[in-house]
Amino acid sequence: MQDLEKYILRIADSSLILSHRLSEWCSKGPSLEEDIALSNISLDLLGQANSLLEYCGKINGTKTADDLAFKRGEREFFNFQICEQENGHFGDTIARQFLFDSFTLLFFKKLSESKDEILSAIALKSIKEINYHLRHSSNWVLRLGDGTATSKEKIQNSFNKIWKYTGEFFEMDQLDLKMLDLKIGVNNNQLKKEWDIIVNDTLKKAKLNRPEDGFMMTGSKNGIHTELLGKILSEMQYIPRAYPDAKW
């Protein structure tokens, strides 16, 4: 696999897997409006993943976006582990979404300056959508954090539980450094400062405590995941694997 291919897969997989997670809310949302909101966000993420996977397939020359989504195993997926974490209750989903949205907004802003024109164009398109997602998730952090005693306690616990998955956002390995050097990739490490500002500010407004940066999960850059990813793939890939090359 070429370096650029793997770099794009990392970005695409996070959007794809989180999109699948959010789609699980469809028909189960806490209210009709939120059901529609989460499904819409899921759809945007799926669109972003599709554009990236199509580009990846073009570089590869032999694979389609569908091949990449449906014919890879767990160890060949490079999404951040936070994306595969369970939806839990609505507050758990919102905490996960807010942390992801605030990171991806900063990430795509930098990626839009990439020397790779297609990556830059996809990033520019995505920024508009992520801005809107972030507005939605931050509003809910405020409402739940500064809401009732129960909602506050619940979402504080959600943040405490998910925090250990945020370390991966800012990791840089050899491949990232190489892509940065070629002016294609982003320096994730440099995004931390600005991310801290957004997150601290919102948590403060929501009267929530920022969890301590303690032990952080890691590994997704090398295809290491929590056991949850396998379960997602077994559902997401079932039809194309059971009926290979079926058309409908």
Binding site: S51, I118, L124, H136
Partner: protein, 150 residues
């Protein structure tokens, strides 16, 4: 100057309705970015509205059907991402059509499409499609959709 051939393609595209909002065409929606004639082939550049908008696939199919109906087979649809689609590309006339259809057009100040009141409430940031949000007029009490500005 557009040549007669190219103009004809634009006219055909102008008769393809948006699959979700049939009162406006795909040209009025602003997703057709360019039509060129290169080496005996029409290249139609199309940009998606939202990355995941399911209507994108539908209007591409509709464009193909409409062109073939007009005996045009030598064409290719190219997807372009840059510059990203924006509601600024909609003309005043298009916005009027949306309003008449009951959808508040993409403007910073939202007016109720029924009674023109500016006293409105947000019901939900997301509507039935990715491009719309849900509002309610506090004067005539009618709920309505708003085409989001992006």
């Amino acid at each position: 100057m557009r040549s007669g051939k190219i103009e004809k393609i634009w006219n055909i595209l102008g008769s393809v309705p948006d699959p979700e909002i049939p009162v406006i065409s795909v040209v009025e929606l602003g997703v057709i970015r360019n039509v060129e004639y290169i080496e005996n082939e029409y290249i139609i550049s199309v940009t998606p509205t939202y990355s995941g908008c399911p209507a994108v696939k539908t209007f591409q199919d509709d464009i193909k059907t409409q062109l073939k109906k007009n005996d045009i087979d030598n064409f290719k649809i190219d997807i372009v991402y840059k510059p990203a689609w924006t509601t600024d590309w909609m003309t005043k006339e298009t916005k009027q059509k949306l309003k008449k259809y009951g959808i508040a057009p993409p403007e910073k100040i939202i007016e109720c499409p029924q009674c023109n009141s500016k006293k409105i409430e947000l019901i939900s940031e997301f509507g039935a499609t990715a491009c719309k949000s849900m509002h309610k007029c506090t004067e005539c009490l009618e709920p309505f959709e708003h085409f989001k500005c992006i």
